[in-house]
C-alpha cells in the first residue's frame, strides 16, 4: 500500500505540472549507510533505491516526491547469534532549489519522509518490530545533462531517524550516496 504513495503524490502534482516550467522523473541507486554502531555491526550498510518525480515550479524552485526502498539486511544478533533481518523503506516529499549552469545543475533539497522499519529475529523469545517514524532530511547533488532532456545525477542525502518502538532508542538514520538517471520534460 505504501508503495503507491509516490504515484498518488505525482497525481496530485499534475495540476501544478500543467503550469510548471519543467517536469522530471528519475531513478537513483546507491549506498545507504547506518549511523548506529549496533545496527551497523549486525546489519551493516546496504543499497537503497529511490524513484522520484519532481517539478520545477518557478525559477529553480522544485518540489517532488519519491519512495526509498531496498535496504533489507540480514545478519545474526544477540547472545545466541540468531538470524535477523532489518528492512527500512520510506515515502519522501521534498522541496528545494536548483540552479542550472550550462550542462550542470547543482541542487539542494529539504524533505520530510515517513519511514517504515521492520525487524524480525528467528527466535521464539523475540518479538517482531514493525513501526513507522517521520522525519525531516536534507539532500544535495548535481545533475549533469549530456542530452537536452536526459540527466545523470549524483546526490548525498542525510536522514536522521531516531526511533524507539519498544524500550531502546535506535538511530536508523544515515547517509545515502546515490547516483541516477532522470528525464526532464519542459513546457
Amino acid at each position: 500500500m505504501k508503495k503507491i504513495y509516490p504515484f498518488i503524490i505525482c497525481f496530485l502534482l499534475l495540476p501544478v505540472a500543467v503550469y510548471a516550467i519543467d517536469f522530471s522523473f528519475g531513478f537513483q541507486a546507491g549506498l545507504r549507510t547506518v549511523s548506529d554502531s549496533a545496527i551497523k555491526d549486525v546489519y551493516g550498510n546496504g543499497l537503497c533505491y529511490f524513484p522520484y518525480a519532481a517539478i520545477n515550479v518557478f525559477k529553480g524552485f522544485t518540489i517532488g516526491a519519491g519512495y526509498e526502498f531496498g535496504y533489507s539486511r540480514s545478519g545474526t544478533i544477540g547472545l545466541y547469534e540468531e538470524a535477523t533481518t532489518l528492512k527500512v523503506t520510506g515515502v519522501q516529499a521534498f522541496v528545494g532549489f536548483q540552479y542550472s549552469v550550462s550542462m550542470v545543475t547543482p541542487y539542494v533539497f529539504v524533505g520530510f519522509g515517513s519511514f517504515s522499519y521492520t525487524q524480525t529475529v528467528e527466535s521464539e523469545a523475540a518479538q517482531t518490530v514493525d513501526a513507522t517514524k517521520s522525519t525531516f532530511f536534507v539532500a544535495g547533488g548535481l545533475k549533469i545533462y549530456p542530452m537536452k532532456n536526459v540527466y545523470i545525477s549524483a546526490e548525498v542525502k542525510y536522514v536522521p531517524l531516531k526511533v524507539k518502538p519498544i524500550d531502546d532508542e535506535v538511530d536508523l538514520g544515515g547517509l545515502r550516496l546515490m547516483g541516477g538517471l532522470g528525464f526532464t520534460f519542459g513546457y
Binding site: 547472545l79 523469545a125 518490530v129
Partner: protein, 462 residues
C-alpha cells in the same frame, strides 16, 4: 553484556532429598544375607538376597537391623561373629557393604540408632555387662561401656527421641535399666534400674519419646513406662498391658504414636500373631485388639531384642519378620495392612528372615544450583534471560532419569510454582528466555529417578 548473578537460597541438607517408597529390609539369620522389598509396588517386589558370603561365616547369625535416619545405611548385627555391618542402602536395589566393626568378644544383638543419627548403641545378647557405642559419623571405632548396675545385663536397647535417654532390659534379672548418654557418646551417666514385671525382652519408644513399651513374653504382657526427662524413666500410669494369649516379642508404634503394634511368638510352632495397643497418653496404654490377625511365620520361642516388626512412615503398612529362634521353611515375611489388619505373605522372602526395618527411598535434589541473569540485546529492545545451572547429586545411587524445573514469580506464594519443563538427566542447564525487565523469578529444580520418584527441590532465585 551486563550480567547479574542470582543468589542461591540455602536449603538444608534434609531439604535436598525426598522420601518415597517405602522399602523394607530383611535380615536372613542363617543364610547371612539380606533382601530388600519395594513396598511401593503391588505386590511388593523383593530384591536380593544380597551380600551372601559377606555377612559372616558358617555358624554365625545375623540378627537385627536398624536404619540411619537419613535412610542411607543399615546396621546389622552378627552375633557369633562379634561384628556390626554397615550397609549402604541408598540404592535399595543394590545394597553395598560399606564397612564393618569387630567388637572384640562382644556379641552384638539389638541395635538402636539415635534419632539424630549421631550414634548407635548395641546390646550384647550373651552374658555380658557391656554396651557398645558407635559414633556413626565415622563408623570407624567403638566404645564399650560396662554397666554400673551390679550383676545386670542388657539384651535389648532403645534410644529416646531426646537422643539422650537409653533404656535397656535384662531378661535374666528381670530389670529395666536406663540412663543418659554422656557427652562423648561413649557410655551412660546417671544409670539406674528398677524391676520389671516379668522377663523383658524387647523395647520400643513412642515417636514423641514419652512412652516406653517393653515386651515380656514369659508374662504374656507388655510393660508400660514413661520417660519424664533425659535418662529419667518411671513406670507408666497403666503399668502393663495384659490379655495376650501368646508371647509379645516385637513392638512398633504408629508414626503418630497413637497406636502400637505387637508381634507375639509362641512355643508351639504355631503362626505368629499380631495385636495392637491403644496409646491413650504418655505412659498410658491399653489393649486395642488382641490377635487381630495371624502372620505368615511359625514361632518357636524368640530371640532377645531383634526387631521383627516395622511400621511404614505413612502408617499404612507394617512388615513382620520372625523373631523365632528356629527356622521353619514355611515362614515368610508378612505384609500387614494396618487399615484392616489383613496380613499377606511376601512370597519371595526367605524362611529365615528375622529382623526387619522399613526405610524411605531417597532421591537427592541436584546440587550447586546457580542462576545467572543475562541480557540479550536485540537493539530495539532487550530480552532478559535467567540461565540455570546445576550438578548431579552424587548421593543418588538409583539413576536419575531427568530433572524437573518449576518457576514462580519472586516473592509469590510457593503454591504458585508451575512446572516449566523437564530436561534429560544428561543436561545440567536450562535457559529461561523472553523475560521482561524488572520481572524476577524463583526456580525449583528436582531430580526424578528412573523409578519416577521426585526429590525435594533445590531452590534458587534472582
Amino acid at each position: 553484556m551486563k550480567k547479574l548473578f542470582g543468589f542461591v537460597l540455602f536449603i538444608s541438607f534434609l531439604g535436598s532429598l525426598a522420601f518415597a517408597g517405602p522399602w523394607g529390609i530383611v535380615v536372613n539369620v542363617s543364610s547371612r544375607n539380606i533382601q530388600t522389598i519395594d513396598l511401593g509396588q503391588s505386590p511388593p517386589k523383593v530384591y536380593g538376597p544380597f551380600l551372601t558370603g559377606s555377612l559372616g561365616t558358617s555358624g554365625e547369625e545375623i540378627l537385627d537391623v536398624a536404619i540411619t535416619p537419613d535412610s542411607n545405611y543399615a546396621l546389622i548385627s552378627n552375633f557369633q561373629g562379634h561384628k556390626v555391618y554397615r550397609i549402604d542402602i541408598s540404592d535399595p536395589t543394590n545394597p553395598v557393604l560399606a564397612g564393618s566393626l569387630t567388637l572384640g568378644s562382644f556379641y552384638p544383638e539389638d541395635i538402636a540408632i539415635s534419632p539424630n543419627g549421631q550414634f548407635a548403641v548395641i546390646s550384647d545378647g550373651s552374658y555380658n555387662r557391656e554396651l557398645a557405642f558407635i559414633n556413626l559419623s565415622s563408623f570407624s571405632n567403638y566404645s564399650l561401656y560396662t554397666m554400673t548396675s551390679s550383676n545386670l545385663y542388657a539384651q535389648a536397647v532403645a534410644i529416646g527421641n531426646d537422643n539422650s535417654t537409653v533404656i535397656m532390659c535384662d531378661y535374666y534379672t528381670k530389670r529395666i535399666v536406663f540412663g543418659r548418654v554422656n557427652a562423648s557418646l561413649t557410655g551412660l551417666v546417671s544409670e539406674s534400674n528398677f524391676p520389671s514385671d516379668g522377663y523383658p525382652i524387647n523395647i520400643s519408644i513412642s515417636p514423641d519419646g514419652s512412652t516406653v513399651l517393653i515386651a515380656n513374653p514369659e508374662g504374656s504382657l507388655v510393660g508400660v513406662y514413661q520417660i519424664i526427662g533425659p535418662g529419667n524413666v518411671v513406670i507408666g500410669s497403666t503399668p502393663k498391658v495384659t490379655g495376650f494369649h501368646e508371647r509379645p516379642q516385637s513392638i512398633a508404634f504408629s508414626p503418630d504414636g497413637k497406636k502400637a503394634y505387637v508381634v507375639c511368638s509362641n512355643t508351639s510352632g504355631s503362626l505368629l500373631t499380631f495385636s495392637w495397643l491403644q496409646v491413650n497418653g504418655p505412659g498410658n496404654v491399653t489393649m486395642g485388639g488382641e490377635r487381630v490377625t495371624n502372620l505368615h511365620a511359625y514361632a518357636y520361642y524368640e530371640y532377645f531384642g531383634i526387631d521383627a516388626l516395622a511400621v511404614a512412615p505413612a502408617g499404612n503398612y507394617a512388615i513382620a519378620g520372625n523373631p523365632s529362634s528356629n527356622v521353619d521353611s514355611r515362614s515368610r515375611v508378612s505384609l500387614i495392612n494396618l487399615s484392616n489388619y489383613q496380613a499377606t505373605a511376601i512370597d519371595a522372602t526367605q524362611s529365615d528372615a528375622k529382623g526387619v526395618a522399613l526405610f524411605n527411598e531417597i532421591v537427592f535434589a541436584p546440587t550447586n544450583a546457580g542462576l545467572e541473569r543475562k541480557t540479550n540485546n536485540y537493539i530495539f529492545y532487550k530480552e532478559y534471560i535467567n540461565s540455570l545451572t546445576w550438578q548431579a547429586n552424587s548421593k543418588n545411587k538409583i539413576p536419575i532419569s531427568k530433572y524437573r524445573i518449576y518457576r514462580k514469580t519472586k516473592d509469590a506464594a510457593d503454591s504458585t510454582y508451575q512446572q516449566l519443563t523437564e530436561v534429560d538427566a544428561s543436561v545440567f542447564q536450562y535457559t529461561d528466555r523472553g523475560l521482561k525487565k524488572n520481572v524476577y523469578y524463583t526456580y525449583r529444580i528436582t531430580s526424578i529417578n528412573n523409578r519416577g520418584l521426585e526429590s525435594l527441590p533445590t531452590e534458587i532465585g534472582n
